[in-house]
């Protein structure tokens, strides 16, 4: 069976998925190495392991489509096309950061890439995504908004209110739940009785779909359907993508709460080597090509980091800016 005949995305999309995934992984690896060694000082909620979902979102969405993500957003940001220099720059508090360094890791936005908001408040993204989707509709645009969040976020009241509104108004929104099986140190099964997050969709009157979040092609397929539906005005979808966080909740998390067998199984299901094998097996790319993609990813990351480290730290006078449109509005 040749890949041309196989169902699923075109060859260049598959290649693109792998490029994105390797870039996400390289960006996470470099940051992790740097923080661990003391070279880099920043807070970081690692996305290693969840690349397939973010790559699929990046591959399926158009540039003018929009994404709202969370503190665990490195992969999402890269997938949506936020320049690495602006991401690292923001994490490391440099003037080249998306927020000139003052927002920090959890608060990266880059509207030019359609990355509208990262939030540090669990569950608080979907309501804002509802508003973005409303705006698209009112402007007559056929743009779609994706809200990306974790399994734990679906226990928040905020998620519920947003999901209900999105379904009610048939908004062009896709709710992408990156179910990495933990919320901080608490396994998903300890916080909800339902077997799958996708089951929540029924309570809103929208489709709920669960896919293997470590298989980028599965995510692409489900997401394409959801995005099409949203773009056609048929309303939102709750898309649950099952995956795993390799580095725990925050960088430095000792992860004592993760059973060895679970970690072993997760390693075996690591989306990166798995998708590499798949691409080789399907004859989409050769080993050399894939090696080159990986090398290019590492170089891109190194280059970005070098640029960031050469850039000046966030300016002290940032405290005088952006509290209000006009700084004179601050009380003395």
């Amino acid at each position: 069976m040749t890949t041309e005949q196989a169902a699923g995305p075109a060859l260049d999309v598959r290649r693109r998925l792998y490029e994105l995934m390797t870039l996400m992984k390289a960006a996470d690896d470099r940051l992790s190495k740097g923080i661990a060694s003391g070279e880099l000082q920043c807070v970081y909620w690692p996305s290693r392991g969840q690349e397939a979902i973010a790559a699929a979102v990046g591959a399926v969405l158009r540039l003018d489509d929009q994404l709202v993500t969370t503190y665990r957003g490195l992969h999402d940001l890269i997938g949506k096309g936020v320049p690495l220099v602006e991401i690292y720059g923001e994490m490391l508090g440099r003037q080249v950061g998306s927020g000139r360094g003052k927002g920090g890791t959890m608060h990266i936005a880059h509207p030019d890439s359609g990355l509208m908001m990262s939030t540090g408040i669990v569950g608080a993204g979907p309501p804002v995504a509802v508003g973005l989707a409303m705006a698209a509709r009112r402007k007559g645009l056929d743009r779609v908004t994706v809200a990306s969040f974790g399994d734990g976020a679906t226990n928040t009241g905020s998620f519920h209110e947003a999901a209900n509104m999105a379904a009610l108004w048939d908004l062009p929104l896709v709710l992408v739940c990156q179910n990495n099986q933990y919320a901080e140190m608490t396994p998903t099964g300890h916080t909800m009785k339902i077997a799958q997050v996708a089951d929540r969709a029924a309570g809103y009157g929208m489709p709920g779909v669960r896919v293997d979040g470590n298989d980028p092609l599965a995510v692409v397929a489900a997401l394409e359907e959801a995005v099409e539906r949203a773009r056609a005005g048929a309303g939102p979808t709750l898309l649950e993508c099952v995956t795993f966080r390799f580095r725990g909740h925050y960088f430095g998390d000792p992860m004592k709460y993760i059973p060895t067998e679970q970690m072993d199984a997760a390693i075996a299901a690591d989306p990166l080597p798995r998708f590499r094998s798949r691409l080789l097996d399907d004859g989409v790319c050769g080993a050399r090509e894939l090696d080159e993609i990986e090398t290019a990813a590492v170089s891109a990351v190194d280059e970005a980091l070098a640029a960031v480290l050469a850039a000046p730290a966030a300016a002290l006078d940032e405290l005088d800016r952006d509290v209000y449109a006009d700084p004179r509005n601050c009380p003395a």
Partner: protein, 331 residues
């Protein structure tokens, strides 16, 4: 026209003149609407005057998302006591977005909400929580006391580039006054207004407190005490210059508000005055705020809780009777 009509006119003209404006909230569309949004959905359609589920967090969140895309959403939280439910979106997204993204995204929303009280609805339908929002950098806080100010300030809030918390007072909605109907009319945020000039003492207030202060000033005039009534109109930005100018002249001040006195907005005004006019004050600045108690439902009890003319007059007399013993300092 009444305050309710003035606010309605501000919303109407904003919807009329700018496609970016829309209203979102619970029961704000016809035929259910009875407050300042009445009639507007019939005129502008339910896409622009949008009834929502009972979901305060998502109402404000959705307003924020739309505002990021250039809209000028006016979100309604029916009664201020419910604003806690939306507080997270207000303080962690709306207020901080401009700063956190270095100006790349902004959330110029207006949150209209209403201060109840005086209706017998009890402790969970009567709170004045403006002090909460003054304390959050990035928000503007607006409380009109007259129909004219209501229209002018609401217009400014809607078109202001920062997120605004706009507080209406149920007991003022029926108050009448002259209102410019010109759609171009607006009142800049951050300018206090002398509602009555005076020389002996400054009554500093906003919202319903202004009405009580004016009543007190009338009564004081009959006692040949000349009270100036300064209406702050906005708590953020705060017109510190106007406060200082007035009290510098009168050397005495009473701050009046329906919010609980303890840790309320008046505390900040006092703190500013004692710092800026330490040597100029003839007496301690007095405060007349709500008593430190959940609001009781029965009107007879509730009226004990809020400021009124008598309490203000008593406070003025305290400032006038004050005998300084300043020499005793550094004892």
């Amino acid at each position: 026209m009444t305050m309710r009509e003035a606010l309605n006119l501000a919303l109407d003209q904003a919807l009329e003149r700018d496609e970016r404006v829309f209203l979102i909230g619970e029961d704000i569309a016809d035929p259910g609407a009875s407050g300042p949004t009445a009639g507007l959905s019939s005129r502008y359609g339910t896409e622009r005057v949008l009834d929502t589920p009972i979901s305060e967090a998502a109402i404000v969140g959705a307003a924020i998302g739309a505002a990021m895309e250039g809209f000028r959403p006016v979100a309604e939280i029916m009664i201020m006591d419910f604003i806690g439910i939306a507080a997270d979106q207000i303080i962690n997204h709306a207020a901080k977005m401009r700063f956190m993204t270095g100006g790349r995204t902004t959330a110029p929303i207006t949150v209209r909400t209403q201060i109840y009280g005086g209706l017998g609805t009890g402790a969970t339908h009567s709170q004045s929580l403006e002090a909460w929002f003054m304390h959050i950098p990035g928000l503007k806080v607006i409380v009109p006391s007259t129909p004219r100010d209501g229209k002018g300030l609401l217009t400014s809030a809607i078109f202001d580039d920062d997120p605004c918390i706009f507080l209406e007072t149920i007991r003022l909605q029926g108050q009448r006054g002259m209102v410019p109907v010109d759609p171009g009319f607006s009142i800049p945020l951050g300018q206090a207004d002398v509602k009555r000039a005076g020389t002996d003492v400054t009554l500093i207030s906003y919202g319903r407190g202004v009405v009580e202060s004016l009543g007190a000033a009338d009564a004081l005039a009959r006692q040949e005490i000349s009270a100036e009534v300064l209406d702050l109109r906005t708590l953020v930005p705060l017109d510190t210059a106007a406060i200082i100018e007035s009290v510098h002249r009168t050397t005495r001040a009473v701050v009046v508000h329906d919010a609980v006195q303890f840790a309320g907005p008046g505390a900040e005004i006092v703190a500013i005055l004692q710092r800026e006019l330490f040597d100029r004050l003839s007496a301690p600045v007095e405060r007349v705020g709500a008593r430190f108690v959940p609001n009781p439902a029965p009107p007879a009890l509730e009226s004990q809780v809020y400021p009124n003319s008598e309490k203000i007059i008593a406070a003025v007399h305290r400032t006038l009777r004050w005998k300084t013993t300043r020499e005793g300092a550094r004892g």
